[in-house]
C-alpha cells in the first residue's frame, strides 16, 4: 500500500462526496433533525419547569409547602437523546449513502477498471476510500458537536464543563465507529451487486433490520415495557425483588439479550446513553465507573468496527468483487 496514493484517493473521495446532491440532501436533513431534537428537548424541559411552577403555586395557595416536590434538574448532555437517536437512524443512512457513492461513482463511470489498470493496489483503493470517508465523518460529527455546544451554551446560556465536553467528544467518537460499520457494509454491497440500486435497497433492508426491527423486538419483549411506567413499578417491587423474580425467567431474558446484542445499534445506544448520562443512573458519574459497566458494549462496538473494516479490505481484494460493474 502506498500512503501517497491512499491520501490522493481519500482527498478525491472527500471532494466527490461534497459535490453529491444525495449526500448533501441527507446531511442537510440530519442537521435539521439535530436542531429539531434539541428544540424539542428544550421545550420538553420548559414544559416540566412550568408544570413544577404551577404545582408549587397550587400547593402554596393551599397553604402547603412546595418543598416535597423535586425541581426538574437541567443537564445539557441529557438534551441529546433525540440527537443520538437521529444519528442511529439518519446517521446510519448517511453511512450507507457514503459507501454507495464511493463505489457507484467508479462503477457508473467505468473508472474502476481504469484505476486498477494503473499501479494502484486494490488495498490502496479501498484504504483511500475508508480514509476519505473517515475524514468526512469526522468533519460532519465535528460540525454537529460545535452546533450542539453553540445551541446549548449559546442559546440556552448553559456552559459545558470540561468533563461534559469530553463526554460529548466520546459520544461523537462512538458515533463515528457506528457510522463506519454502515459505510463498510454499503461499500461491500455496492462492490458485490451488479446492479447498484439493488445494493442500495439491500442496504436499506439491512439497515431496517439492524436499526429498527431487532431493537424494536428486544424492547417489545422487555417485560418492564409492557405497562406504561414499568411492570415492576406498577407492582411496587424494588430492584432486589425484581432480580429475584427474574431468575426464574433466565432463558427468556437470555434470548432477548442475544437478539439485542446482535444489533450494533443497541451497543452504540447503550454506550452513548451511558457516557452522556442520558440514562439517568449514569448521569453525573465519572467515566471510569461508566466504563466499568459499559466495557462490554464498548468492545462489541469496536469489534463491529474492526470486523467491518477488515471485511471491506478482505473482500475488496477479491477480483470478482471489483470487476462487477453496472
Amino acid at each position: 500500500m502506498n500512503s501517497l496514493t491512499i491520501w490522493i484517493i481519500a482527498q478525491k473521495g472527500y471532494q466527490d462526496a461534497l459535490k453529491n446532491v444525495l449526500f448533501l440532501t441527507l446531511l442537510l436533513f440530519l442537521f435539521s433533525l439535530v436542531g429539531i431534537s434539541l428544540m424539542v428537548s428544550a421545550f420538553n424541559f420548559q414544559a416540566q419547569v412550568d408544570q413544577y411552577n404551577r404545582a408549587i403555586t397550587q400547593l402554596q395557595s393551599m397553604g402547603q409547602s412546595g418543598v416535597i416536590l423535586d425541581k426538574p434538574q437541567y443537564f445539557p448532555l441529557q438534551m441529546l437523546r433525540g440527537t443520538i437517536e437521529y444519528l442511529e437512524i439518519i446517521g446510519a443512512i448517511i453511512g450507507i449513502i457514503l459507501g454507495y457513492i464511493s463505489i457507484a461513482k467508479e462503477k457508473g463511470n467505468n473508472t474502476m477498471q481504469l484505476i486498477l489498470s494503473r499501479p494502484i493496489s486494490k488495498l490502496s483503493l479501498i484504504g483511500g476510500k475508508i480514509l476519505g470517508n473517515t475524514l468526512l465523518l469526522f468533519s460532519i460529527l465535528g460540525l454537529i458537536g460545535l452546533f450542539i455546544v453553540f445551541a446549548i451554551s449559546g442559546i440556552g446560556h448553559v456552559a459545558f464543563s470540561q468533563a461534559e465536553l469530553f463526554k460529548l467528544f466520546l459520544g461523537l467518537l462512538f458515533s463515528y465507529l457506528y457510522l463506519m460499520v454502515f459505510f463498510c457494509l454499503s461499500t461491500l454491497l455496492s462492490l458485490f451487486f451488479k446492479s447498484l440500486p439493488n445494493a442500495l435497497i439491500v442496504g436499506f433492508i439491512i439497515w431496517l433490520l439492524i436499526v429498527l426491527i431487532i431493537p424494536q423486538i428486544g424492547d417489545t419483549m422487555d417485560p418492564d415495557n409492557q405497562v406504561p411506567g414499568g411492570l415492576f413499578n406498577s407492582l411496587h417491587m424494588d430492584t432486589h425483588q425484581q432480580q429475584q423474580v427474574m431468575t426464574n425467567f433466565k432463558t427468556y431474558e437470555t434470548w432477548r439479550n442475544i437478539l439485542e446484542e446482535s444489533s450494533v445499534e443497541k451497543h452504540y445506544e447503550r454506550l452513548t446513553f451511558a457516557t452522556l448520562g442520558i440514562k439517568s443512573i449514569y448521569n453525573g458519574k465519572d467515566l471510569r465507573s461508566i466504563f466499568q459497566d459499559q466495557w462490554g458494549n464498548f468492545l462489541w462496538l469496536i469489534g463491529f468496527y474492526i470486523g467491518s473494516i477488515a471485511s471491506a479490505f478482505y473482500f475488496s481484494n477479491n477480483r470478482k468483487f471489483l470487476s462487477k460493474s453496472n
Partner: protein, 318 residues
Amino acid sequence: MFEQILIVAANEIRVLMREKTFLLLLSVFLAMTLFSVLIGWSTKTTVLGIYNASLILLKQSGVTHLPSNPFIMIPALALFRNMIIYVFLIGALTSVVIGHSSFIRERKSRVVQLLFTKPISKTCFIAGKIVGILAALLLIIFAVFFISLLSSFFIPGQLLTQQEIIRLSLFYLLSLIYMLIFAMIGLLFAIVLPTESLALLAPIIIWVAVTFIFPELTTGQNPVALLNPTNITQTAPQGAFFTLMHSVLTPFSIEQHYTGLAQPLLETQKQFTSLSIAEIIAQNSGLGISLFVYLILAIALSLYTFYHYAVTRDKMYE
C-alpha cells in the same frame, strides 16, 4: 382500453415477482408477520408468569394489598399489536420500493420512450401501473392476513371470533390504504427525479419524517420511543410549543392517523375493547377520511407529473 390497462398491470406483477430485492423485502415482511404473533404470545405468557411469581414473592414478604393483574382480559387481537409497527416500517418501505421500481425500471431501460411509439395512451399506461401496484399490494396484504389467521390459530391455539376476524380485516384494509400512499409517493418521485438513487431516497426521507419527526414534534416523545407498542398511544402534548405543533402538524402526520385508527381496531388497550366496530369508525372517521384524502392526493400528483413527463427529454443517468 381496459384490456391495455390489464396487460400493463399483469406485466407489472410479473416483473415484480422476478425482482430479487422486492422478494427479499416481501420475505422480511411475511416473516415479521409470523414473528409478531410469536413475539406477542411469548411476551404475554412470560409477563403473566412474572406477575404470578411476583404475587407469590409479595405474599411471602407480608404484603396484604396485592396489585391487580395488569394483563387481565387481554383481547386476542392485542397479539397483533406489533403489526402496526411492522406495517409502518417494513410495509411502507416495501411499498416505496414497489412504486419506485414500477416506473424507474421503464425509464432506465428506455422502454418508456419506445412504448409511446406504439398505440398505447399515457392514460392506459399509468392506469395499468397503478392497478398493477394496487394488485401487488393486495396480494401482499392477503398473504399477511392469511399468515396472521394461521399463526393466531397455531401459536396461541385459539380461534378468532367472527367479530375479531372482521376487526383484523379492517385493520389490513387500513394498512393497504397506508401502504398504497407510500407506493404512490415512490411512483411520484420515480417520475420526477433525475437519478434512480435520489428517486429512492426522497420517499424514504418523507417516510422518516412522517414516522419519526412529526410524532416527535407533536407529542414530545423521542423518535425511537414510538417503536414501542406501549408508547405509541397518542399522548397529550404539554406546553405551548407542543400544543402549537400538535395543531399544525397533526393533519399531516399520516402515521398518527394510521395508528389512531389501527389501535382501537386491534384492541391494543383495555379501553378499546368495549368499542364496537361501528363506534370505532364513527369516532375515528376523520382519521380514515384524511388517509383516503392523502391517497387520492398522492395518486393525483403521480398522474399530474406523469402527464407532464417529457419522454424524449428524460436525461436519466446512473
